[in-house]
Amino acid sequence: MREIRFSGYGGQGVIRCGLITGKALSLFDDKFATMNQSIGPEARGSACSSQVVVSEDRVLYPYITRPEILVAMSQDAYEKYEPELREDGILIIDTDLVRMRPARGKIKVFGIPSTRFAEEMGNRIFANLVMLGFFTAVTKVVTPEAMKKALPGLVPSRFLDLNIRAFEKGYTYGLEQLSQTNIGVAEEKSKTPATKPTPAKARKGKK
């Protein structure tokens, strides 16, 4: 069983990320996947998230207990959800939007300027698809074919091609990063701590 959390601020399409991933896994990758989202006032504009639980059998407990994969597309989301990530988990960030502390334990870190890439494509609205492509490449939780098949119905049909292009942009960037050594990436990230609070302190205040 694998537990994934997509997080960011309301409007970035992080719920859509969960929907696309869950649909891809359930309908096209022959897995069982549930998707739950944070709803309510806290999800409007501030840290918001969707959670996907993936399993070979029926999911019995549809919520995340200790996420293995965290995708953080905003500083708030990173601060709020990073402390619950497993020590051997995977952290994926938008490098322009998240300034991270040194990674804990054996956490593997992958970063992509997804919003900037989307803006270069013409609209930052595609940032979540760039991120999904990247996520698909570096985690291999889901196949890229399934993800692309899942898009119709979940993105406006007239923008389907652009969404696929955004996905592929992120996917290719992900494969390039993988071809370098993962540990190298994580270490490089951890050399540039930007925020003041120590991990322990930040962990205490949140959640």
Partner: protein, 388 residues
């Protein structure tokens, strides 16, 4: 009562990734529901949204009403006009519906109400889960009456059981309820909608005799009276007052006895046909976990762990919570050591199990006030405790 195939117009055949709320709307459309009146309330709003979005393509009416009181009244009117009708609500909205749910029971109108339960009482936890309305659905309106309530554990069952609710409601001329909760309502999962010809739909028994001889409350052999379509020229009267076979008010104890017993008997005497539950591992079971809805799903994990620990645990999962499988609980109580009843309330169905067990086996609750589903370990602990 007529069994037919579903109208393909309302059936979105294929594999989908839907949340429970959406699946309820799709189930309603597949069952032939063509009228929806409701007032949006979290966490049930998505059902109304989905219905409103889909109904122009299927043909039918969606009305956003001024409140939940009016919603049920609109359903009663539409149903008497011959259209299958449903609404959806939660928490305070369900409380507001109570008076007219009684009216629907008294008038014997088929309709379906989905309650996506959230934490209560009052406005409670608008965005978080609960199962605290399980007794309210049975006893919420005043007087003696019976209803049918089903409890799905997944979006797939939200779809399947909404069709079943419509079928039972049409069969017995009674309001039927989908008692789901926020967790299932907002959980996205694979939902497979079969082709229309594989979906069996039940339509109410229609009276076809002379127009001036119709008696709207004369029970048939199966205790259920025939219906007509208002506006088709049949002369009849219907009221919330105690009434005779013609539907005219008769305010005395004799008619009250006849009228109320009929409302109760048509469900109680057909209960064996209505009740559905799923059992697992009952052979030699010492402990039986009785659960429903999302809790029954989380409980599977606890049951698996308990079996690994060598405890003989069976599972009785209620599909219909009302009418309650009284006889089955009575039988089991004679053979087993104890029942364990996890639920997201402080013991509503546990007390029902206790009542039916008649002192033969204790019913140990795993209560939860709402806001989240059970941690499976809490259920496991109760199983271990019961097995001691």
């Amino acid at each position: 009562m007529k069994k037919v195939k579903a109208d393909p117009k309302g059936v979105l055949t294929g594999a989908h990734y839907l949340d429970g709320d959406f699946a309820i709307a799709e189930g309603g459309l597949a069952a032939g529901c063509r009228f929806f009146a409701g007032y949006p309330i979290t966490p049930s709003t998505e059902t109304a949204e989905r219905f409103a979005e889909r109904i122009p393509y299927v043909g039918g009416v969606f009305i956003q009403m001024e409140d939940e009181i009016a919603s049920i009244l609109a359903l009663i009117g539409a149903s008497w006009a011959g259209v299958k009708s449903m609404t959806v609500t939660s928490g305070p909205g369900f409380s507001l519906m109570m008076e007219n749910i009684g009216l629907a029971c008294m008038m014997e109108v088929p309709l379906v109400i989905a309650n996506v339960q959230r934490g209560g009482p009052s406005t409670g936890l608008p965005t978080l889960t609960g199962q605290g309305d399980m007794m309210q659905v049975k006893w919420g309106s005043h007087g003696d009456y019976e209803i049918i309530a089903l409890s799905p554990d997944s979006p797939q069952e939200c779809f399947d059981l909404t069709i079943k609710a419509f079928n039972l409601s049409e069969m017995y001329r009674v309001p039927a309820f989908i008692m789901t909760d926020e967790c299932v309502g907002h959980m996205h999962e694979k939902v497979v909608i079969p082709p229309a010809e594989e979906i069996e739909v039940v339509n109410r028994k229609m009276y076809e005799g002379p127009k001036d001889k119709y008696l709207p409350y004369k029970p048939d052999k199966d205790h259920v009276p025939f219906m007509v379509k208002a506006g088709d020229g049949y002369r009849f009267h219907t009221t919330g007052l105690t009434h005779d076979e013609r539907g005219y008010p008769v305010i005395n104890a004799e008619c009250q006895d006849w009228c109320v017993r009929h409302l109760v008997d048509k469900i109680r005497k057909n209960a064996h046909k209505i009740i559905e539950y799923k059992e697992d591992g009952m052979d030699g079971a010492e402990i039986v976990v009785v659960s429903y809805g999302i809790t029954s799903r989380v409980a599977v994990k606890a049951i698996q762990d308990a079996r690994k620990a060598g405890i003989k645990v069976g599972s009785l999962r209620l599909i219909t919570v009302w009418p309650f499988p009284e006889e089955r609980i009575k039988e089991l109580a004679k053979k087993i050591k104890a029942f364990v009843v996890p639920e997201i309330n402080l013991g509503q169905i546990r007390r029902e199990v206790e009542r039916c067990a008649f002192g033969q086996a204790p019913a140990i609750g795993v209560p939860h006030c709402g806001g989240w589903v059970h941690n499976p370990d809490d259920i496991l602990r109760a199983i271990k405790e019961a097995a001691k």
